[in-house]
Symmetry: C2
Subunit: 208 residues, 2 copies
Amino acid sequence: MGISERKEREKQRRIKEIVDAAELIFFLKGFKNATMDEIAQQAELSKGTLYLYFKSKDHLYSQIIQRACRILYNRFVEAAAKVKLGVDKVNAIGEAYYQFYLDEKDYFNVMMSFESKDIPIEIFVSMKADEDCDPHIVLIESIKIGVEDGSIRKDIKPNETAIILWAFTTGLMQLTSQKKELLEEGYNIDIKDIIQLADKIMNYGIKA
Amino acid sequence: MGISERKEREKQRRIKEIVDAAELIFFLKGFKNATMDEIAQQAELSKGTLYLYFKSKDHLYSQIIQRACRILYNRFVEAAAKVKLGVDKVNAIGEAYYQFYLDEKDYFNVMMSFESKDIPIEIFVSMKADEDCDPHIVLIESIKIGVEDGSIRKDIKPNETAIILWAFTTGLMQLTSQKKELLEEGYNIDIKDIIQLADKIMNYGIKA
DNA sequence: ATATAAAATAACTGACGGTCATATAGTTTG
DNA sequence: CAAACTATATGACCGTCAGTTATTTTATAT
């Protein structure tokens, strides 16, 4: 049956068009100031049509979060693959996160809002179900490898430690991105220094 | 002039009444679901009157953030005062934060939203101007003391380190509070364990 | 008593997320 | 090919809510 397949393709294309339009508007205006009418206009569709494909503004936004997650996840996988030792993988992931912050500011901010904003539970759960979208997992695996190859202390629990490192890094990134001006101008502190120092502290905590 | 003083007192009382009402509703419903009409009703005033004292819903919410800050600040000061050594002060502050999370859930959540939510810049700045409302400062001072008394490594820069520890802790607290169920039920991880382990990692990083 | 200033109100406005009855284009069937 | 059917799309409409304003009430000063 070629027709239903073409229909399906068209549907997917339409969905992509809508998400693209939404992304543009969300990036431009932020979640709160973006309106569904504006997104519809950008997509050259009526607002009603958006609701045919996405059940709410939140739901549409979650699509952008998902994109951000995928990109970050891929960067993590790539970074971890470049080195052998577990502890090096962990560091490479940290570096990759910082690089992500530098050259994907929009997606980065979306990720931050995912970590902090009140996302309806159902959406949150459906996202976690998507394995390709959990950068966290790369970190857990790298720590496990580190414990096995002896580059990370044996007494460390991979799951717990991954959560902690993730939380630490996210907290740092959030502060960094939100209070950048305050830090640099108000306190005369360089972001890069902060990141390096933070890295050092985390390394002290896990290195064998 | 006794009358204008009484007027001023009454004005302050009214302000307090409004903030009390707002707090109740915000705690009950969260920022987004709370309505100004509801707050007005709770305060036994008309909505217009709220706008006589506060210029927006955001502005009113920032009052609650400020209360949360003050409480946390006081707890930090108290905790730090109980011990002598700088490094112990830092640990006491961490412990106080956790205790704050345990017995002031509502205020804690408000603090978290302060760290993450998009608060209009002007409000943010006016809050930072309020010295009594920056728990951060207690941490910086304690680290400085630790460097002086030799309980914290000499090569550590108090300002930078304070920011990092603050970011780490906030990130951890945020994750903890938002994904509590997921961690405990999904991954079978105990929050208390996480906090302790995180504490250990941070201590490795700063102890002399 | 009256003028004046401050505090409070409630009806109103505009914006926006979400819905629904209706229309249109594409597909199937007789 | 026409009629019936289905999926897709529309835009006018609705309810809610933050914020405003014209008006009224209350309190102070003259």
